[in-house]
């Protein structure tokens, strides 16, 4: 696979019309619709950007394996027409490790969330990163446990309201990208769901990276996070996401809704773009070299 060089700074002046965007319906299991996601949830925007990246790279649909854990983000795997594994809570990188080692020809994509990937599954994520297993991890961070009803997550900002933090969350949150950079991930990027074109570009970059590529997609949860914190619905939450993106100047950042946010200005997860990129040997497991076993 060739290393796709991209300009990481998104071009905010580009006008993208609906007709220019790829038709990604052939990558969806139409028979599985309607999906379980709530109105206003940005996970669908993330998924569309991913499918556009797959389409742009002309990846073989039969050779993509999507491995998911448990949670709203992980349910995406059910709707895409690839080989899909909806595993157990937090363990997707471990399932994906076995899958990739057994079938190195597969393009393995892990889709996980902030609770799935950083709380219960943190251990698996950092070890997959350390080993540099050739997979792409999409971590959709909505700052809360959505599927179980809005409980505080390891990414919930200090002071934010959650069903298990009715007075405001008293713990500091994880910076997923810093964690993964520390774990030795050879590719780390953060993109905001408010910027679908940039998401596609970064996903193309991550999918083309030889080794472990971690992409945090800053997404939202209007149903719980937005409602509990009185931010609003889908559009207001997208703006709240855009506010967190201090890596981007331009029109979106003018739409800040700071006065609507009862939490402290987010201290974590504010830098977008490719944060780490290095080429190092890809892990293949203990096996004989090509053609050496008898």
């Amino acid at each position: 696979m060739t290393d796709v060089k991209i300009d990481i700074q998104p071009d905010m002046t580009t006008e993208v019309t609906a007709t220019e965007r790829a038709d990604v319906r052939s990558y969806l299991r139409q028979w599985a619709m309607p999906h379980v996601l709530c109105p206003g949830c940005a996970h669908g925007i993330v998924l569309r950007s991913f499918l556009e990246a797959v389409d742009q790279l002309q990846l073989d649909q039969d050779k993509i394996a999507m491995v998911a854990g448990i949670g709203c983000s992980s349910r995406l795997a059910g709707y895409v027409d690839f080989c899909t594994l909806h595993g157990t809570h937090g363990r997707a990188p471990a399932f994906a490790t076995g899958l990739k080692l057994a079938r190195p020809d597969l393009n393995v994509v892990v889709v996980t969330g902030d609770g799935d990937g950083l709380a219960i599954g943190g251990n698996h994520l950092i070890h997959a990163a350390r080993r540099n297993i050739d997979m792409t991890v999409l971590l959709l961070n909505n700052s809360i446990y959505g599927m179980t009803g809005g409980q505080a997550a390891p990414t919930t900002p200090e002071g934010a309201i959650a069903s298990t933090a009715p007075q405001g969350h008293i713990e500091p949150g994880f910076d997923a990208c810093k964690l993964l950079m520390g774990a030795g991930a050879s590719y780390v990027a953060r993109v905001f769901a408010a910027n679908p074109i940039e998401m596609t570009k970064v996903m193309m970059d991550g999918l083309s990276h030889p080794g472990f590529a971690f992409i945090e997609l800053v997404s939202d949860c209007p149903e719980y996070f937005g409602r509990y914190n009185k931010i609003g619905g889908g559009p207001e939450m997208l703006n709240w996401i855009a506010v967190r993106d201090e890596g981007i100047a331009g029109p979106l950042s003018e739409k800040r809704f700071v006065e609507h946010i009862p939490v402290k200005p987010p201290a974590i997860g504010v830098k977008s773009g490719v944060l780490q990129r290095e080429i190092r040997p890809v892990y293949a497991g203990v096996r004989a070299a090509e053609g050496q076993h008898t």
Partner: protein, 384 residues
């Protein structure tokens, strides 16, 4: 399919090594593990042997991921195995349930040590028998095999792989530290019969991953071979897609049991020894089965009509076989290295037709032949 083993004949090997040889003879080409006494030799041998057979080995970050990795590999078409002991087996329960629900063939070896908790890492135990059956949540099927010698470890490892592939289900090989670490001379067969999972018919236009044949076992297509499908641990329909339809969920769970329960003759294996004229039978498995055999032979020399029933399959429980013994004998002695785990099953099978008594040890000491000989003598004296 019959596979020729490259090194047949007499060999002096350890139980854990026999397990590795049995796995390789069965076509195992993926090992994912995590070190734990007294099973670690399996990982150490696997990491050396896997590359030689074109397979892959990985040491994962814990036992949860070890089992996850082999499930992933199995979905990709590999024959995969992991090995552990008590504390690690506890961590694996989550994915034993997943493999049962998603119908992913895999083999899990538990070399039992003393528990509870970290317990006694270098001492034997049979404390995980009920955990092997009921450790993971929900109504799941379970196949658990219990070898009593190094040679039998080889044979039952092959059987474990075959049953896993035949029924698309996790199979647990359960033996204790003594068998794992004992070195014995074993006679390896020149060939073994190997069963592979059924794959879908190439002519099939529409493939649904959970559409079962009349046997109750769906055909399995490896990831990446052109058939795109979904796998989940949620209750699901024939398309493999999650459902909250209670009728569909009930049918699925019933099928998971039926596919095994309808073929007990392929699964259950029991050794019966000197039972024809016996008044008293010992029910024992694993290393205790060997002590029991010696105790029975010694008791016979003293004129006591003793016999042995030794299940090689612990789960599904050999209810019919135990019931048959209960009809023949006056007393069944259930000997276990735990505080009484299978004795309840024996009572349930015996249905009062024979008196069921326990001889139990815990704390790391095995049940000795002498101890069982004394039990038999006491029962014989009481009946005289």
């Amino acid at each position: 399919m019959t596979i020729q083993i490259t090194m047949p004949g007499e060999k002096l090997i350890q139980g854990n090594e026999a397990c590795v040889m049995g796995a390789i003879a069965s076509g195992c080409n993926f090992y994912g593990g995590y070190p734990i006494t007294p099973s670690s030799e399996i990982a150490e041998h696997m990491v050396r042997r896997m590359p030689k057979v074109g397979g892959v080995s990985i040491q994962m970050e814990d036992e949860i991921s070890a089992l996850a990795s082999i499930i992933g590999a199995s979905l990709a078409g590999s024959k995969a195995m992991t090995a552990t002991s008590g504390p690690g087996f506890s961590l694996m329960q989550e994915h034993i349930g997943f493999a049962a629900m998603a119908e992913v063939p895999c083999v899990i070896v538990n070399v039992m040590r003393g528990g509870p908790s970290t317990g006694m890492p270098t001492s034997p135990s049979q404390g995980d028998v009920m955990q092997a059956r009921w450790g993971t949540h929900g109504d799941h099927p379970a196949i658990v095999l219990a070898p009593a010698s190094v040679g039998e470890v080889f044979d039952l490892t092959v059987k474990a792989f075959n049953l896993a592939e035949r029924f698309r289900t996790p199979v647990i090989l359960l033996y204790d530290e003594i068998i794992g670490h004992t070195r014995e001379s074993v006679s390896l067969p020149e060939s073994v019969t190997v069963i592979d999972r059924v794959t879908p018919d190439d002519a099939l236009e529409e493939f649904w991953p959970k559409e079962a044949d009349p046997d109750g076992v769906p055909a399995m297509s490896p990831f990446g071979d052109g058939r795109r499908f979904h796998v989940t641990g949620l209750a699901h329909d024939h398309r493999g897609f999650p459902t909250n339809d209670t009728a569909v969920a009930e049918a699925l769970i019933n099928r998971l049991h039926r596919k095994i329960d309808a073929h007990l003759d392929e699964v259950i294996e029991v050794e019966e020894y000197l039972l024809d004229d016996a008044d008293v039978a010992i029910f024992a498995y694993g290393i205790v089965g060997r002590s029991a055999k010696l105790a029975v032979e010694r008791a016979r020399l003293n004129g006591i009509k003793a016999g042995l029933i030794r299940p090689l399959t612990l789960w599904p429980f050999p209810t019919a076989q135990v019931a048959e013994v209960a009809r023949k004998v006056d007393t069944i002695v259930v000997a276990e290295m735990n505080l009484g785990q299978l004795v309840g099953e024996v009572e349930r099978a015996a249905k009062g037709q024979a008196e069921v008594v326990s001889h139990l040890r815990t704390g790391g000491e095995p049940v000795t032949p002498t101890a069982l000989e004394e039990v038999l003598a006491k029962i014989d004296g009481g009946n005289a």
